[in-house]
């Protein structure tokens, strides 16, 4: 059996085991070395994946490894195409960034770091498998691999009762989600007799779109969709979000907000609408309603939050709403209009990159602030005076979330709205645009707290070069891609080349 298509996941597994083994041999005071090992490991994996899957930047080196770019390789319900690789790269980059935050977070806390890094790597591995799965069983296994370590991680600060609450809450909701999902999958299997997605979506008598004629199938699909909506925290399935975000350690939240959500969106993109042209109006309506609810509820609930992490949690619900607006705007690809030329697909992929970068920046700043005991909007007062650089980067990330030009979030939203307009979802776009105006209110509340108010008490900043450098790099990336978005759009387009062909 050729395991080579699995090599990013296998490398991650190796890294996790390496971290655990080294953890045994390290004396108690030197555990922070694990963070550096994990960071270096992830960087090496990123480089290897980059070389293996080939890009414009290393055309020659790609030949050394495998050549997946031209013919998507399908392997036992496992598909590696440019689309999946695009997502894998996002997860790996996010993991690297989050590890830099984590090494800062654990700087003065020596507890159980080996387990922490290993669990985080497992989450990333689950995300990475999820976007490649083309069988409902593999999908469920990778979904669990992605979720279960996160329950532990959410409760990782074991002496903090809020963290315990977050862990328990996330676990209970997550368990119900998995149960619903699995039940949905079993109903689909009962109705159609297969879990192979390629057969489920292929034209013919056995496929996923004969919903109207088959109530068992309909219920199964609804259950699967609800399970997915729970994981991405789309309203009305979002109630776990604020408590989990508030209680969980901030580096964990920064990955929780990015990895699993993006992975599930990737799965949704692959299955619904894209491979179901017959029932396109139904999916469009479904995702449009989910999007409208998420945007509106997220923004309205965020208005009154005083805790930064709760505020970002609700803002994250609204962000998922914008992404789902893009999902609703895509059209089933046809030979004449394949996915790579449709602005709906491009818009969603672009916005996912924008979302990942922006959330990572925002949570990086919140990690930094949290280490000084600053957790509320009020505690940001005077930040622009005491550390102008940090305030500037935080402002960039908030503005990018709000969709203010010339930041990456603006280009992303512009793209999404243009796509939805093209699909004639006028009401949704107008709702989205009005929502962006409402959102300004709470994003600017933080900005005004940082810039207008005087600091109440002096707090000293812990200088830590890696996190500061990382924040500057991704903060400025938000600006640079916002001004010149073409590179990322090209990436998104190349990820959509041959999307669903041979799937």
């Amino acid at each position: 059996m050729d395991l080579s298509p699995l090599f990013p996941e296998l490398l991650l597994l190796g890294l996790a085991i390496l971290v655990l083994v080294i953890d045994w041999f390290l004396p108690k005071g030197k555990k922070s070395a694990l963070g550096y090992i994990a960071i270096i490991g992830v960087v090496l994996i990123i480089l290897l994946v980059h070389l293996a899957y080939g890009t414009k930047f290393f055309p020659g080196a790609a030949e050394l490894f495998f050549n997946f770019n031209n013919n998507p390789m399908v392997f036992q319900g496992f598909v590696v195409d440019a689309f999946a690789v695009f997502f894998k790269k996002i997860f790996l980059l996010a993991l690297g960034v989050v590890f830099i935050y984590s090494s800062f977070f654990f700087k003065n806390k020596g507890e159980n770091q080996g387990e922490y890094y290993a669990l985080m790597i497992f989450v990333a591995m689950g995300c990475s498998l999820l976007v490649s799965s083309s069988d409902l069983l593999l999908f469920f296994v990778s979904f669990e691999l992605m979720s279960i370590p996160l329950y532990l991680l959410a409760g990782f600060s074991k002496r903090d009762s809020r963290s315990n609450e977050a862990g328990l809450k996330y676990f209970l909701i997550g368990a119900i989600t998995s149960a619903i999902l699995l039940y949905g999958i079993s109903l689909i299997y009962a109705s159609l007799g297969t879990t192979d997605l390629r057969r489920l979506v292929a034209p013919g008598p056995i496929n996923l779109f004969h919903l109207q004629s088959d109530p068992v199938l309909l219920i199964g699909v609804i259950f699967v969709l609800s399970g997915l909506a729970f994981k991405i925290a789309a309203a009305p399935f979002h109630m776990w979000v604020p408590d989990v975000y508030e209680g969980a350690p901030t580096p964990v939240v920064s990955f929780l907000a990015v990895g699993p959500k993006i992975a599930v969106i990737g799965f949704i993109l692959r299955i619904f609408i894209s491979s179901m042209p017959e029932s396109e109006p139904l999916w469009t309506l479904y995702f449009a309603i989910l999007s409208a609810l998420s945007m509106t509820m997220g923004n309205l609930m965020a208005l009154h939050q005083t805790n930064l992490k709760r505020l970002l949690a609700y803002s994250g619900v609204a962000q998922i709403g914008y992404i789902l607006l893009g999902v609703a705007a895509i059209q089933a690809p046809t030979p004449i209009a394949p996915a790579s030329v449709q602005i709906g697909y491009q818009a969603v992929l672009f916005y996912l990159v924008a979302y990942a970068l922006t959330e990572l920046t925002a949570f990086g700043v919140v990690t930094y602030l949290g280490s000084m005991g600053r957790e509320t909007v009020e505690s940001c007062q005077g930040l622009a005076r005491t550390s102008p650089g940090l305030a500037f980067i935080f402002m960039l990330s908030l503005f990018s979330l709000a969709g203010i030009p010339p930041l990456i979030g603006f280009v992303g939203k512009f793209y999404l709205f243009a796509a939805a307009f093209q699909k004639q979802l006028y009401w949704l776009v107008i709702l989205g645009i009005l929502n962006s105006v409402v959102a300004l209110f709470y994003y600017f509340r933080i900005a005004s707290s940082m810039y207008f108010k005087k600091e109440k008490e002096e707090t000293s900043f812990i200088a830590y070069a890696p996190i500061q450098a990382t924040l500057w790099v991704i903060g400025l990336t938000l600006l640079i891609i916002g001004v010149y978005p073409k590179t990322v759009i090209d990436l998104a387009q190349s990820a959509l080349q041959r999307f669903l062909v041979g799937f």
Binding site: A418, F444, S448, F452
Partner: protein, 508 residues
């Protein structure tokens, strides 16, 4: 030089802002020097553009084009025509004036100049960009930093603050929400134009203005009838159109002097420019239908603004409401749909920009010296501060339209244009001139003449060079364009002509 001129025009302030970001904050002199350099540079470029623009040549000059997001047909497209050249000149002049007047800022100088230069870059960019995507970017770049400028360096004024927020934060937030709502509506309108372009005769959807202007949106049933008022009102929010003008007095009065100058001087003009360029320029057929209604609103603007100005006691509120009134003249000129009226409107945009910036600069200087803006507390200051008094009288006269000043030419042309279109409106609106004369002269009398308030008896006031230079410069410009109006009107004739013909239905 030709291709990169306009890029440099908006990029200089951004470059200066980036350079200031790297200067340590103790080095105030460096910060100011960099800002002044950027101001001088933009002024030089704007004069260069103004002087070399050939009104008899092709409509679009200094054109530069670079594909940006090909999948959405977005390009980096800059050019100027006879309508934007006066605005470019105005921007160049006010940029430098605002930077100089900002030398009075003592707190957090470095951050202040960064934000100010970003506003200037945004304004400059929006007047020269011909791509709707880039227009939105520059629009936001011009409006977002103003929030910070007002919130951080603004004044709380004499108005009682609300319990939950100080006056200047309230004003900043109000301005932000109004301008962002305007921005959101503009975005919606632009998307509609983008989406419907193929139905209007274009081969594909595009955000490029020149390509969109070749489309005939009138041929889509009901399209322009809905989108025209949407865009017109969206830009009207920024231009101070009644009843969306209420952010304007609050914002102007709370803003630091230089920001008031830019807000009244060029930001309002951005709104009016957008109305001309995007609403009337792309959907002339609907313009014919809707503009009479906007003519009526324009008259309300003129009269209501003047009436409010008459009732105010805060000198910055007086000038702010006078801006509402004077922007009404711009809208009236646009509504008249003839060449004379439009020339008047364009002239008023330029002239009001200069005059109101002058008045705000003087109000700022006055506040610096006396620490009050309430005209009731002032009085008899003419002997104490002769320079300010003389300049304020001159500025006031320009504002009320004394012949020989630029305001006169603008009002004369506008009313003449309106007379040819709708005599009743013109006659009603001239009542605004009477009110204007009344509030200007009353303010001058209360502040500079009459008995001297004892508090200011023993004070002697010195004017710094950075106060004198911009004020004197602005007065010279008003006089120059008042005496030789053809310096501006000749520029725009050939650009206005085709638009007027389209409005009157002769183009198609």
């Amino acid at each position: 030089m030709d291709a990169s001129t306009l890029t440099l025009f908006y990029a200089l302030p951004i470059l200066a802002a980036a350079a200031i970001f790297c200067v340590p904050k103790e080095k105030v002199g460096w910060v100011r020097a960099l800002a002044v350099l950027a101001g001088l540079g933009t002024l030089a470029i704007s004069i260069f553009v103004y002087a070399t623009y050939d009104p008899n040549g092709p409509q679009w000059q200094f054109e530069t084009y670079q594909p940006w997001i090909p999948s959405l047909h977005i390009g980096y497209h800059l050019a100027v025509d006879g309508i934007s050249v006066p605005m470019v000149l105005l921007t160049g002049i006010l940029n430098l004036a605002a930077i100089l007047i900002s030398f009075s800022v003592k707190e957090r100088v470095k951050e202040y100049f960064i934000f100010l230069l970003l506003v200037e870059a945004g304004v400059a960019g929006s007047f020269v960009s011909l791509d709707l995507f880039f227009f939105i970017i520059f629009y936001e770049l011009a409006s977002i930093p103003i929030y910070f400028l007002i919130g951080m360096w603004g004044s709380d004024g004499q108005q009682a603050s609300r319990s939950w927020v100080t006056k200047r934060e309230f004003s900043a937030l109000k301005l932000l929400i109004y301008l962002q709502l305007g921005g959101a509506l503009i975005l919606t309108g632009f998307f509609l134009l983008y989406l419907f372009a193929p139905q209007a005769g274009l081969p594909y959807s595009t955000f490029d203005f020149i390509e969109l202007s070749r489309a005939n949106f009138g041929q889509i049933a009901n399209f322009s009838r809905i989108v025209f008022p949407l865009l017109f009102v969206a830009f009207g929010i920024e231009a101070g159109l009644f009843p969306f003008h209420t952010w304007l007095p609050d914002g102007h009065s709370a803003a630091p002097t230089a920001v008031s100058m830019l807000l009244a001087g060029v930001l309002l003009k951005m709104g009016a420019y957008g109305m001309i360029r995007f609403a009337a320029g792309l959907m002339p057929d609907a313009g014919k239908l809707w503009l009479p209604l906007f003519g009526v609103i324009a008259v309300i603007n003129i009269l209501y603004g003047a009436w409010c100005a008459l009732k105010q006691t805060d000198i910055k509120y007086i000038i702010a409401y006078s801006s509402v009134s004077h922007m009404g003249i711009v809208f009236l000129g646009l509504a008249s749909q003839n060449i004379i009226g439009w020339s008047g409107a364009l002239f008023q945009m330029f002239s009001h920009g200069i005059v109101t910036a002058l008045l705000f600069a003087l109000a700022g200087i006055l506040y610096e010296k006396t620490h009050t803006r309430n005209v009731m507390n002032l009085g008899g200051l003419a002997p104490q501060m002769p320079f300010v008094a003389v300049c304020f009288v001159l500025g006031g006269l320009a504002s009320l339209g004394l012949p020989g000043m630029s305001g006169f030419v603008a009002e004369f042309l506008t009313f003449m244009g309106t007379y040819g279109w709708m005599k009743g409106l013109m006659i009603v609106s001239t009542l605004g001139l009477v009110l204007t004369a009344l509030y200007i002269l009353l303010t001058v009398k209360k502040v500079f003449f009459g008995p001297l308030n004892d508090a200011y008896k023993d004070e002697t006031y010195k004017n710094f060079w950075w106060e004198k230079v911009p004020v004197a410069g602005l007065i010279m410009i008003t006089l120059l364009f008042g005496i030789m109006p053809s310096l501006l009107t000749a520029l725009s004739q050939n650009s206005i002509g085709p638009m007027i013909r389209a409005l009157s239905g002769m183009a198609h």
